[in-house]
């Protein structure tokens, strides 16, 4: 009871202004599933065996298992409550705006979920005969055609399981291409504004990473790039729009500089939500790129996956695509072609995260060309609206025009000893998920805000109001901001101890 009183008092004292979006609300406490378990409870019942019972020890001998340790034992209602209670501790797109920059947290349409669960689709075995998989293969084929048209590329592989896996595939394609020209080359250039997966990927593919410092506008310094690119450069890994949400308007020059030395332009498609239906990477010189179906094409993030990271590329890279590829026979039947002598090999078993293809295609069909264009326009409109309404409150490190996301810095609030992380945590008290904190690295104290097209003007105005109030609180009561969040189930967690003495699993108390 004492805690409840403290919480209520804190709630009273915790705001300079007013919260419009949220009110205090009780959530259920819930122990770990193991602490709720008791022997003999069951949430399952198997049908009676219609074949003779077997003696596991007789069949398996020494390999037979005696005991399953501390796996839990509960009834069905307890399981429903356990996970439902846990779910209520999460913030989600379904609850409100989720402005994580570079993550594209857009609405995840429910019809996508429904169609991916249709029996013939969800229960399809990857090795069932191709003649009995024409439905699945048609889905793959149509999605491929749509993505090729959207990106302006020539061909595509659907095999990569996520964005970083797509990067890996794309750079292996690059490597195989150069190898076929005589030398794999040694270096990959990565701008200092890039996502951490880019340099990690280049290293995984056996390349040296060469860092490219951004220019005064936070963009690719074309002159510096021209000095760096040699005949040892395999590719530049570029995010466009960049991680500060700005379109590289000298993209054609960037491509020219690379192509003049035989190097390729790799595009990280994380920010494709700013481009769909308005411009195409294949038209502005990109040779190979990955898409994130879980960003641009609305498949759910699910608390951190599953994703899907198809890689689209130009004709010159086609011979190297992972095996197998979908081909259409003269009879109109689709099948997999495994006979690809120049292929980089497989990057994943089977054919990729097919369930995500179904959802992405459902999204594309729900939009059509007009819907996709309007989606991109709304995403850019929303980011620019936020930028306009907040530019007096937070410093804009780069005045370059924004596309689908806007990056501010905490420089003004630093004068009060507050950092971007403090401001972000305070957003939670106003009922919003924080923006992306401290990224990209080229902006010290970055606040990276990506609203996506899914936000109404009303929700945007609430967000803007919250950000403005936080700026005011930073001036008037910085301590209040520093201690945030004040209204969550748990307060700031001790991450140092978590890393120093890792406790990564539950154990029964002795």
């Amino acid at each position: 009871m004492a805690t409840t009183v403290i919480d209520a008092e804190l709630e009273q004292a915790s705001f300079v202004g007013t919260r419009h979006k949220v009110s205090a609300h009780l959530t259920q406490n819930e122990a770990l599933i193991f602490e709720k378990s008791s022997p003999g409870k069951k949430a399952y019942r198997l049908p009676p065996l219609d074949v003779p019972e077997v003696d596991a020890t007789a069949l398996l001998g020494d390999a037979a298992r005696e005991d399953l340790g501390y796996l839990p034992e509960l009834s069905e209602i307890e399981i429903i409550r356990h996970f439902t209670r846990l779910s209520t501790w999460n913030y989600a797109i379904d609850l409100g705006m989720y402005p994580l920059g570079s993550c594209t947290m857009k609405y995840n349409p429910r019809v996508n979920e429904m169609v991916s669960r249709l029996e013939g689709i969800a229960e399809a075995h990857p090795y069932q005969p191709e003649s009995l998989s024409q439905g699945s293969l048609r889905i793959i084929k149509l999605l491929q055609q749509c993505l090729i048209e959207i990106t302006g590329m020539d061909t595509i592989t659907m095999q990569p399981a996520a964005g970083a896996h797509g990067e890996f595939t794309g750079i292996l394609l690059t490597r195989a291409y150069h190898q076929s020209q005589g030398s794999a080359r040694r270096k990959i250039i990565v701008p200092d504004s890039a996502h951490g997966t880019n340099p990690a990927t280049a290293a995984l593919c056996g390349y040296e990473v060469e860092n490219l410092a951004s220019n005064a506008h936070g963009m690719v310094d074309v002159a510096r790039l021209a000095q760096l690119v040699t005949d040892e450069t395999a590719a530049l890994m570029l995010t466009n729009p960049s991680t500060i949400g700005v379109f590289e308007s000298e993209i054609h020059k960037i491509a020219e500089v690379l192509h003049a030395k035989g190097a390729l332009l790799y595009m990280d498609g994380a920010n494709m939500n700013a481009l769909v239906g308005k411009t195409r990477p294949g038209d502005f010189g990109v040779d190979v790129m990955h898409l994130n179906l879980h960003k641009t094409f609305s498949t759910p993030h699910g608390g951190g996956g599953p994703g899907s990271g198809p890689v689209a590329c130009k004709k010159i890279l086609e011979p190297f695509l992972p095996t197998p590829v979908v081909v259409e026979g003269a009879d109109g039947m689709l099948r997999f072609d495994y006979d690809r002598p120049e292929s980089i090999g497989r990057v994943r078993m089977f054919y990729g995260n097919f369930g995500m293809f179904v959802r992405a295609l459902a999204y594309i069909l729900a939009n059509g060309p007009d819907g996709l264009r309007q989606t991109t326009e709304d995403a850019v409109l929303n980011a620019n609206y936020i930028r306009k309404k907040l530019e007096g409150y937070y410093e804009l490190p780069y005045p370059t025009p924004s596309m689908h996301e806007v990056v501010f810095s905490d420089r003004k609030q630093q004068a009060r000893g507050l950092k971007t992380g403090d401001l972000a945590k305070r957003l939670i008290d106003y009922g919003f998920h924080p923006y992306t904190v401290s990224f990209p690295l080229i902006v010290p104290g970055a606040l990276m805000i990506e609203p996506t097209e899914s936000e109404s003007k009303e929700e945007l105005d609430l967000f803007i109001d919250a950000m403005q109030q936080i700026a005011r609180e930073a001036e008037e009561n910085p301590e209040l901001v520093r201690g945030a969040p004040h209204s969550t189930r748990i307060s700031k967690l001790d991450e140092t101890t978590a890393a120093r003495k890792p406790v990564l699993r539950w154990k029964p108390s002795a």
């Binding site: 074949v51 796996l71 209520t88 947290m105 970083a164 996502h195 599953p306 089977f350 326009e377 307060s491």
Partner: protein, 454 residues
């Protein structure tokens, strides 16, 4: 467009407030020659009912209403209804990676429970939050072993899923990792003599699968003893998680790479599935992927955070343990709920049902005088290899006529097994289906004109 929450008037107001005349002003930084001034050539916008019809028709063009004996890395098991009811809650479905711990405790606690259950099941001390799948997980495990040992050679059993091996080849080729292949003996298990002879001071690790691609349970303690004598690490890949209900966990391994698709995840034509890596605690800092740890908040309450991120790409960039970022969180949640629903007793009971069905199926389907079981001197879980006089394509064509998808022909990967098929029976396979398939296999022998004695 029904997903876009704005009226034309609101768009106009917003443009005015931004201070631009029209939306295209906001795209001015895109050079004019690269602006797409036409509609994308994709299907027109569809109504929701049309979308549902589109996919229903696709589903109808797949193998609906067939009995299937396929396994080989994707398994058909019953999925308790509560799993889907829970994972479709928007709070799980539509949240992001739990970097903001205060408002993602639900996802974090579930990951912590997942990691604990995986440790209990596999006999390992630590487990991560998930990998893409079993194939990439096994490749990452090999790279981890190379980092741990500072050695550069990996020995891989031929009985590891062929597609897992192909993925490993792709991953290893630019890491300076050389690969040796270990053959199998008459019993379908790793040839221990060959293993002993192949191990050298350069061997970083040995990768085996158990139950292996032929469904045979490997002798893990014996393999481990040989591997450890040379200071190499043993990696055990497990493609069928339900086997752990009846088969002893590979506690002697250093790293276990598990595919948890069987735990409530749809086969979905090959993905998304759920890889997960577990290991001995001393190797923790070389483990790739996200980890969730327990800690306390300012007022001493228990809470969970993603931890040890200094191993990961967003901090370490090109020096990270892996480039992995997005993983399979929602699928891991399905597996967590599955393990909770069946629990300590149920996973065992379920595994025994699988064992019983496969035992019956193996005996029944191999009973005809044209067929025999291969590798049946070693223990099996729920898959078995059938050698037939009739060639597999001919046999499967006859089964398909009866709406039965027979075993997977193995000749594609194992030329020496050109007359062999890999069969799987699970708790969902009925006696009637098995008897039906057995009668077709028996008749096929009679019908086959160029029968070769196996």
């Amino acid at each position: 467009m029904r997903y876009l929450p704005k009226s034309p008037a609101e768009r106009k107001t917003m443009l005015e407030e931004i201070g631009v005349a029209g939306i295209n002003d906001l795209f001015a930084s895109v050079p004019a020659e690269y602006r797409l001034e036409r509609d994308l050539k994709i299907p027109r916008q569809m109504g929701e009912s049309e979308i549902v019809d589109h996919f229903k028709s696709a589903a109808a063009n797949n193998a609906l209403g067939y009995t299937s004996f396929l396994g080989a890395g994707a398994y058909r098991h019953y999925k308790p209804v509560v799993i889907d009811a829970l994972v479709q809650r928007g709070e799980f479905l539509t949240s992001y990676t739990p970097y903001q711990a205060e408002i993602t405790q639900g996802t974090l606690q579930a990951i912590f429970e997942f990691q604990t259950m995986i440790c209990e099941l596999t006999g390992m001390e630590v487990a991560n939050a998930s990998m893409y799948d079993g194939s990439t997980g096994a490749a990452e495990a090999v790279m981890m072993a190379v980092r741990v040992t500072g050695r550069s050679e990996a020995l891989v059993a031929k009985t590891v899923h062929p597609e897992y091996r192909e993925v490993l080849t792709t991953y290893a080729q630019h890491q300076g990792i050389s690969k040796g292949l270990l053959g199998y003996g008459e019993d379908g298990r790793v040839d221990l003599k060959e293993l002993e002879a192949a191990l050298t001071e350069r061997t970083a690790c040995v990768l085996v699968q158990s139950p292996n691609f032929f469904g045979v349970v490997e002798d893990i303690p014996a393999i481990a003893e040989i591997v450890h004598k040379k200071g190499a690490l043993l990696i055990v890949s497990i493609a069928e998680a339900i086997s752990l209900g009846a088969v002893r966990p590979p506690k002697e391994a250093d790293i276990v790479s598990l595919e948890a698709q069987s735990f409530g995840v749809a086969m979905s034509y090959g993905g998304p599935y759920c890889g997960v890596m577990a290991a001995k605690e001393k190797y923790l800092r070389q483990m790739p992927g996200r980890l969730c740890g327990e800690t306390k908040d300012k007022r001493g309450r228990r809470g969970f955070v993603l931890t040890l991120s200094t191993r990961e790409q967003h901090i370490r960039r090109e020096k990270a343990t892996s480039n992995i970022c997005t993983n399979q969180a929602l699928v891991a949640l399905m597996a967590t709920i599955f393990m909770t629903v069946y629990g300590k007793e149920g996973i065992r009971e379920l595994a025994l049902h699988n064992l019983a069905k496969a035992d019956y199926a193996a005996k029944k389907i191999s009973a005809g005088n044209d067929a025999k079981l291969l590798f049946n001197t070693a223990p099996h879980f729920h898959e078995f290899v059938l050698q037939t006089g009739t060639n597999p394509e001919e046999l499967n064509a006859q089964l398909l006529e009866q709406k039965i998808i027979g075993g997977l022909p193995l000749g594609r990967w194992y030329p020496e097994l050109s007359h062999a098929t890999l069969w799987c029976a699970t708790e969902l396979t009925t006696k009637e289906q098995i008897d039906h398939a057995a009668s077709v296999v028996a008749q096929a022998a009679v019908a086959a004109p160029d029968m070769v004695r196996a």
